[in-house]
C-alpha cells in the first residue's frame, strides 16, 4: 500500500450493532469494545467460540446473551480446537459462516497455545482474536505470559514484579506461516475494523493480537480506555502491524519519540518501577522496534 493510499483511507465503522447494551463488563473495558467492533466488521454471518475468559461473563449468564450471533462457550484451552470442529461440521453440511474464536491472553498465550498452534499449523479456516488485557483478569489479575516485564499483578507483587518479558505471540503465530497475522488495539477502531474486513476475505487461519485496556487490572482510570492503547502505539510499546503472506507492514510509525514512561506512569501496575527499570523497558522497546523495522524492509519473509 502506498503512502498516498494510506492518507486517503478513512475506514468507516459499520453502524449495525450486533452486541446488546448492558453487558456486565467493568467500566472502561477494552475487551467489550473490541467485540462490538469485531462483530460490526465481520457482520451477521458469524459464529463465536468463547473459551474461559472475561467474555465468559461479559456475554451474559443463562438465559441471556449479549450477542445476536450464536455463541459456543467452551473450556479454557479449546477455542481453536472447537472452532476447527465447528468449521468442519459446517463445511460437511455445506453451511457457511465466519467462525470467530475469541479468547483472552491466558487462553491464547498460555493454556490454549497448544490447540492454537495446531489449528494454525493445519491452517484451519478460522479467525482467532486474542483480546489481550495482559493478565488473568477474570480470575482477579494474575500474571500470564502476556504480562509485560515489570508489571504488578496479584501473583507478581510489587516486591517481585514480573521478571520476564511479554511473550511475542505475533512472531509465534507468524512462524506458523499462516496467511494473516495482525496486531490491533481498541484505541484504533478504524484500523481494527479495516483489518478484520480484510481478514474476512482471506481463507485459512487469521490471527489477531488486540491490546484491550483493562482499567481494573492495569490500575488505570476507566476514561483512558481509548487513550492508553494509543499511547502504547505512540511509545512503540505495542506496534501496530500486519504480516500478510509473510510480508510485514507497520501500520503506524510514530513521528515523535515519546518515552515509554509516559505510558507507564498513568498505570498503577507500573507505579513501583524505578527510573532504572523504566530505562530497561525503554531499551527493550527500542530494540524490538528496530528489529520490526528491519523485518519490514526485508520484504517477504516466508
Amino acid at each position: 500500500m502506498s503512502k498516498s493510499e494510506k492518507k486517503m483511507m478513512r475506514a468507516t465503522i459499520p453502524e449495525e450493532e450486533y452486541m446488546f447494551p448492558g453487558t456486565v463488563d467493568c467500566q472502561g473495558c477494552g475487551a467489550a469494545y473490541a467485540m462490538r467492533l469485531a462483530l460490526k466488521a465481520l457482520g451477521p454471518q458469524t459464529m463465536v467460540v468463547i473459551p474461559a475468559c472475561c467474555w465468559s461473563i461479559i456475554a451474559g449468564p443463562f438465559p441471556t446473551s449479549a450477542l445476536k450471533m450464536p455463541i459456543y462457550h467452551t473450556a479454557f484451552e479449546t477455542a481453536a480446537a472447537v472452532a476447527s470442529g465447528l468449521k468442519a461440521g459446517l463445511n460437511i453440511r455445506e453451511r457457511d459462516a465466519t467462525v470467530l474464536a475469541w479468547a483472552g491472553d491466558g487462553g491464547t498465550f498460555d493454556i490454549g497455545v497448544q490447540a492454537l498452534s495446531a489449528a494454525a499449523e493445519r491452517d484451519e479456516d478460522i479467525i482467532y482474536v486474542c483480546y489481550d488485557n495482559e493478565a488473568y483478569m477474570n480470575t482477579g489479575i494474575q500474571r500470564s505470559s502476556a504480562t509485560p516485564w515489570g508489571a504488578w499483578t496479584t501473583t507478581t507483587p510489587r516486591k517481585h514484579p514480573k521478571d520476564r518479558p511479554k511473550k511475542n505471540m505475533m512472531e509465534i503465530m507468524a512462524a506458523h506461516k499462516i496467511p494473516y497475522v495482525a496486531s490491533a488495539t481498541v484505541g484504533h477502531p478504524e484500523d481494527f475494523v479495516r483489518k478484520l474486513k480484510k481478514a474476512k476475505e482471506i481463507r485459512g487461519t487469521r490471527f489477531f493480537h488486540v491490546l484491550a485496556t483493562c482499567p481494573t487490572g492495569w490500575r488505570s482510570p476507566p476514561e483512558l480506555m481509548l487513550e492508553l492503547p494509543r499511547l502504547a502505539v505512540e511509545t512503540r510499546v505495542f506496534p501496530l502491524y500486519e504480516i500478510e503472506n509473510g510480508v510485514y507492514s507497520i501500520n503506524r510509525k510514530p513521528k515523535q519519540n515519546i518515552p515509554v514512561a509516559e505510558y507507564l506512569k498513568v498505570q498503577g501496575r507500573f507505579r513501583h518501577l524505578t527510573d532504572q527499570q523504566i530505562q530497561y523497558i525503554q531499551d527493550h522497546v527500542d530494540e524490538t522496534w528496530e528489529l520490526l523495522l528491519k523485518k519490514e524492509k526485508l520484504g517477504r519473509l516466508f
Binding site: 451474559g60 467452551t74 470442529g85 465447528l86 460437511i92 497448544q114 490447540a115
Partner: protein, 384 residues
C-alpha cells in the same frame, strides 16, 4: 448383500464409523487404538467416507473438535485409549453436559506408570461419572455393530457414548465381521439432526454461565436422559437384532436359565468365561455367565433379575477402585441393596495390565469363591 471381512477389532471400529457415516473425525494416535483412525483417514482420503478428518495435536483437542462439529449439527467420531482418554477427561464432561452425541471407541488399556499398553478397564471406568454411555464389547462383530447402535441411541437422547474394546485381545486380533448393506444401515441410522445447533437463523448461546437457580435442573435432565437411554438401548438393540440378526442386550445371559451361580464380567474375557462355563457345566455345576455390556446407564433391572434367580454371584473386575474394591463389584452390590433377593456377591480383581485370563483362571476363581472370605478383596493371581 452383506459382506464378511476378516479384520481386527480396531478395523471393525473404523468400518463401524464408516458405515455409520461419521461426518467429522478428529483424532490423535495412541497405542493400541491408532489403527482405527489410520484406516478412517484412508477412507476420508479416498472418498469412501464423506467426512472431514481433523488431525489434531492431542486427545483433548480431538474431543474439543468433535464437540465443535457436533455443535454444528454434524455426526462426530473419535477413538482413543488409556492416557488419551484421561487427557480428554475435561472435555468428556463438556460433551455430556453440552448434550453432544459424539461417539468414541476406547481401547481398554492399563494406565501408567509403569508404562503398559495391555488391557484393563481402569481407563474407561475412571470416566464413569462424566455422563457418557459406556458399552463393553466382547467381539469384533460387536464392536462394529455397537458403533451404529451407540450413534442411534446417543442421538436420540443427546448424550455421548463410548464403546470399549480390549487392547490386543480384540484390537489386534482378526475375526470375521459381517457388514450389512449400507442401505439397511442408513434405514437403521438416519442422518443426525439435532434440535439445537449453532445456527445463524436461530442464534443461541451454548454453555453460558448458569447460576445455582438453573444448574441443577440441567443436571436433572441429563439423569433423565440416561434413564431414557436405558430404555432406548433395549429398544434399539431389539430393532438391530430384528434387522441384522444379532442381539446383545445391556446384560447378556449365557446358560443362566437354571443357573445357581453366575459369573459377571465385561469385555472379551466373557468369551473365555463362556468356555469355562461350558466345562464346569459338563462337570455338573449349574453355572452361567451374565456379561455386562452396558455400564452407563447401569442395567439395574437386569442385574436384579439375575440376582433373584441365583444363589451366588461372582464378579470379575479387570480394574480396581483403589481404597475400595473392583468397580463392577461395587456397582453390582449397590444395585442389589434393599432388593428382596440378594445372594452373596464375591468380587475378584484379576487380569490387570493385560495379565492373561485363561479358562483355568476362571474355573480357579469359581473354585476359590467356595471357600474364601467374602469380606476381603479377592486378588486373583498376585505373586506377592
Amino acid at each position: 448383500m452383506s459382506t464378511v471381512k476378516v479384520i481386527t477389532g480396531n478395523h471393525a471400529a473404523s468400518f463401524g464409523a464408516r458405515d455409520s457415516r461419521a461426518e467429522v473425525i478428529a483424532a490423535y494416535p495412541i497405542t493400541p487404538q491408532t489403527q482405527i483412525v489410520e484406516l478412517l483417514s484412508e477412507f476420508c482420503a479416498d472418498g469412501t467416507l464423506k467426512a472431514k478428518f481433523i488431525k489434531v495435536e492431542s486427545e483433548h483437542s480431538a474431543m474439543a473438535a468433535c464437540i465443535g462439529a457436533s455443535a454444528a449439527g454434524a455426526r462426530a467420531y473419535t477413538a482413543t485409549s488409556a492416557h488419551g482418554l484421561a487427557l480428554m477427561h475435561e472435555m468428556l464432561h463438556w460433551a455430556a453436559n453440552g448434550r453432544h452425541p459424539v461417539v468414541m471407541a476406547n481401547v481398554n488399556r492399563a494406565m501408567g506408570p509403569p508404562w503398559s499398553i495391555w488391557t484393563d478397564q481402569n481407563d474407561s471406568l475412571a470416566q464413569r461419572d462424566t455422563g457418557w454411555l459406556q458399552f463393553y464389547c466382547e467381539s469384533n462383530q460387536e464392536v462394529y455393530d455397537t458403533t451404529m447402535i451407540a450413534f442411534k441411541v446417543c442421538e436420540q437422547v443427546l448424550l455421548p457414548g463410548m464403546l470399549v474394546l480390549d487392547a490386543f485381545i480384540l484390537s489386534h486380533t482378526y475375526e470375521p465381521v459381517e457388514m450389512p448393506d449400507q442401505e439397511l444401515i442408513d434405514e437403521f441410522l438416519p442422518p443426525f439432526d439435532p434440535p439445537y445447533k449453532m445456527d445463524l437463523k436461530d442464534p443461541h448461546a451454548f454453555g453460558a454461565l448458569t447460576t445455582p437457580e438453573w444448574y441443577m435442573e440441567l443436571r436433572y435432565l441429563i439423569q433423565e436422559a440416561h434413564e431414557k437411554a436405558l430404555v432406548k438401548v433395549r429398544e434399539v438393540e431389539k430393532e438391530f437384532g430384528e434387522t441384522f440378526g444379532r442381539h446383545y442386550g445391556p446384560l447378556e445371559l449365557y446358560r443362566c436359565d437354571d443357573a445357581e451361580e453366575v459369573i459377571l464380567i465385561a469385555g472379551s474375557t466373557a468369551s473365555t468365561t463362556k468356555d469355562a462355563v461350558d466345562i464346569m457345566r459338563k462337570e455338573g455345576r449349574k453355572i452361567g455367565l451374565a456379561r455386562i455390556k452396558l455400564f452407563r446407564p447401569f442395567p439395574n433391572k437386569e442385574i436384579r433379575d439375575i440376582a433373584s434367580r441365583v444363589n451366588k454371584m461372582i464378579v470379575i473386575d479387570r480394574n480396581i477402585s483403589f481404597g475400595n474394591q473392583g468397580i463392577f463389584f461395587n456397582e453390582i452390590k449397590a444395585s442389589l441393596y434393599q432388593t428382596k433377593h440378594t445372594p452373596p456377591v464375591y468380587g475378584f480383581v484379576a487380569g490387570l495390565g493385560g495379565r492373561d485370563m485363561k479358562i483355568d483362571d476362571i474355573t480357579g476363581i469359581v473354585k476359590q469363591a467356595e471357600t474364601c472370605n467374602i469380606e476381603e478383596i479377592l486378588w486373583w493371581g498376585v505373586k506377592l
